[in-house]
Structures are given as C-alpha cells and as structure tokens.
Subunit: 205 residues, 2 copies
C-alpha cells in the first residue's frame, strides 16, 4: 500500500519509477504498472535498486532487511534510501509492538548494515494516503526527517516538498529514528480512537 | 519542577495541596510551601498520600515506585493517582532511553503494583510550564489521558479543564501509556531542535 501510494505520486510528478518486489511477476506490482502509464515499470528488488537514483523502502519493517539484501548491496551503494518502514511486530496480536526500539531503531539497523547507503528516515509517522497528499488535511501538520548525510536529507526534503509538504522538521542524525518510530504506538491508539488514519501530528508553539 | 508547577496551579485554583517528599524537611518543599500561602503545606510522601483525595505522581520515573511504596499502600488505596512521570533513563547519557517501553509502560507497572489505585496517565507529553498553562502557546494542542477507571478519568479530565485544557484525548485503558511514554524520545529530539520545551503536539485532521 505504501509503495503503491508513493510510486503513484512519483509517477504523477514525472519521475520514472520501478516497483520492486520479491519476484518480477508480483501481481500487485504488475497491476500498479498497468495503472500508471509509461513512466511505471516493475521488477525484482534488485532491478528496482539497480536502475534507481533514490530508493524508497516501503516494505514491512519485519521484511526490510531481507528485501534490502535481495536488492543487493552493489545496487544500493552510494544511493539515497528513504526509509518509510516501521518495525511493527503483529506476532503478539494487537496493538503491535516494535521489534526494535528505545536504544536502537530500524533506521539505524539499516544504516549499520548498509554503511555505503545514505539512509533518510521519513514519512513513517502518518498513513500512506496522507504521505503523498498532505492537502487532504485542513491542517497538514508536520513530517520529520533524519539521517546522517546532510546532502541526502536536502534532496529528500526537496522531493517531499513536491509532494506538497511544507512543514518538514529535520531531527538530526539517523538515531532520531528512535523518536519517529516510537511515535507509532500512540499513532495506532489514535487511529483506534479517531476511527480513521486521516490525521497527523502538528508541532504547535 | 513538575510537582512545583502542578502544586502551584492547584493552589491557585483553590485546592489544598500537600507537597510530599522523602522527608518532611525537604528544602524545596518547604520553599514551595512558603511561596504558596495558606492552602499549601508539605510533608512526607505518606503524609501527602494520606491526606489527599487525588495524588499526582510527579517524581522521576526511576524513583516513582519507591516513592509510591513510601507513600504507603494503605494511604493510596482507592484513590486516583495521576501519573505524570516518564521512565527516562539518563544513566547511559543523552539522549535518555526508557527503562520500560514497547510491551509495557511505567503507568502499567504502577497499576499492576498498586491494584487498588486508580491510575490515570496524563500530562506526561509536555513540559511542566505548559502542563498548567496551555495558554502560553498560541495553539495549545492536545493532551492525552488513559487509565482503566472511567470515573477516575472523568474526574481528572474535569480537573485538567480547570488548568485550561480543552482538547483532551482519552486513549483508552492504561496500556495506552505505552503510546504516551514513547512520545518522549521524539519530544527530547524536538526540544533539542527547537531549543525550547515550549511546544506541544496537536492532532490535526
């Protein structure tokens, strides 16, 4: 769902997008390609990584490392990886817990395992419809980015502005992913309370 | 600091307040009493618990259980305990980690250890100046409460409204404290980024 939303948005903005999956024949990916015209194509995780300048990790947090290994270290090297994933663990039922948190985060785990990749954590604190359509909310609120590479963050921030985001807060290095990933537990409770994922956090002062 | 802020606010609203400390001769508590007129007094944790209808836990999260044990099970029994504390662990340096999180929370630990007490987690997602003066922000934003006892939550919500809070979100039972306590990591990062604790979260839709 997250990959579909972000891929569709990127195509609508004129970018060429390769939707990566475990196999090149993934039905959802083919359906996405068919719905999105000439700029859209799909392939394996390795295809997507090899032919892209910027890679979005839109996999489930539990599957992210395996997906990135399948993408291939050599295909990811030196590139920007926008990590949208959350380490939500549904194995113990609802509400989900986090498989990594507190003194570590999925963003950091990915950065440690792929030291040559420029990991930028972003967009993981809100639902996928809002990620690419902040205008759906009367007050869109804030999004947060963090990562170790200043240039990569600037590039991602520019791209997110083309999504419609205006209030983007750079929280610092990738360890700040502990902060944005640990927002998920209250996000899940709020979704239950409000009965919709169509809300966001705004920092007011 | 948190106890001072909340105690001062409660006195200003006409409530009789006993500031509890480890000893009845705590200098900061005596100073607080001297600054706050006839409705203010201080004593041991046990004194504060025994003579109060509603107890605010404004201790450091690492000290909360010991403070509540010193307050005395018999003095707390059947009462509302507003748990403002966060389980921040500064022992490994900055930024702090959480000594309990993810599949548990300080609010739940307290509720399990004091089963006869009506624990209401509240006010732990913002700085103490704002807790009692939401009007200091142009847009005060939201506060969150949670707890197992519906009547206790209603009473705490009424009290918080007298503090000036209008947008109070009840997140459900005490397990939702996992959500509000895990907000602290991003709160700490935001404070570093913004250079001030004078901000809050607003849920926008």
């Amino acid at each position: 769902m997250v990959g579909d939303s972000i891929g569709t948005k990127l195509v609508s903005l004129g970018h060429k997008v390769i939707m990566g999956s475990r196999t090149a024949t993934n039905e959802k990916a083919i359906s996405w390609t068919n719905r999105n015209g000439a700029l859209a194509t799909n392939g394996t995780f390795a295809d997507a990584a090899a032919y892209s300048e910027i890679i979005f990790n839109c996999t489930s947090g539990q599957a992210s490392l395996e997906a990135l290994q399948l993408a291939g270290r050599e295909n990811l090297q030196g590139k920007i990886l926008v990590d949208v994933a959350n380490p939500l663990d549904f194995s113990k039922g609802m509400p989900p817990s986090l498989s990594v948190c507190n003194t570590d985060s999925l963003g950091e785990v990915i950065q440690r395992q792929f030291t040559d990749v420029k990991v930028v954590k972003a967009l993981n604190t809100l639902g996928c419809q809002l990620m690419v359509n902040p205008g759906l909310l009367k007050d869109p609120g804030n999004i947060f980015i963090c990562g170790n590479d200043v240039g990569a963050k600037a590039e991602v921030e520019s791209l997110l502005r083309t999504f419609g985001w205006e209030k983007i807060i750079d929280l610092g290095d990738i360890t700040a992913a502990r902060g944005t990933e640990q927002v998920l537990p209250i996000w899940v409770r709020l979704m239950g309370k409000l009965g919709t994922p169509m809300f966001n956090f705004s920092i007011v002062s």
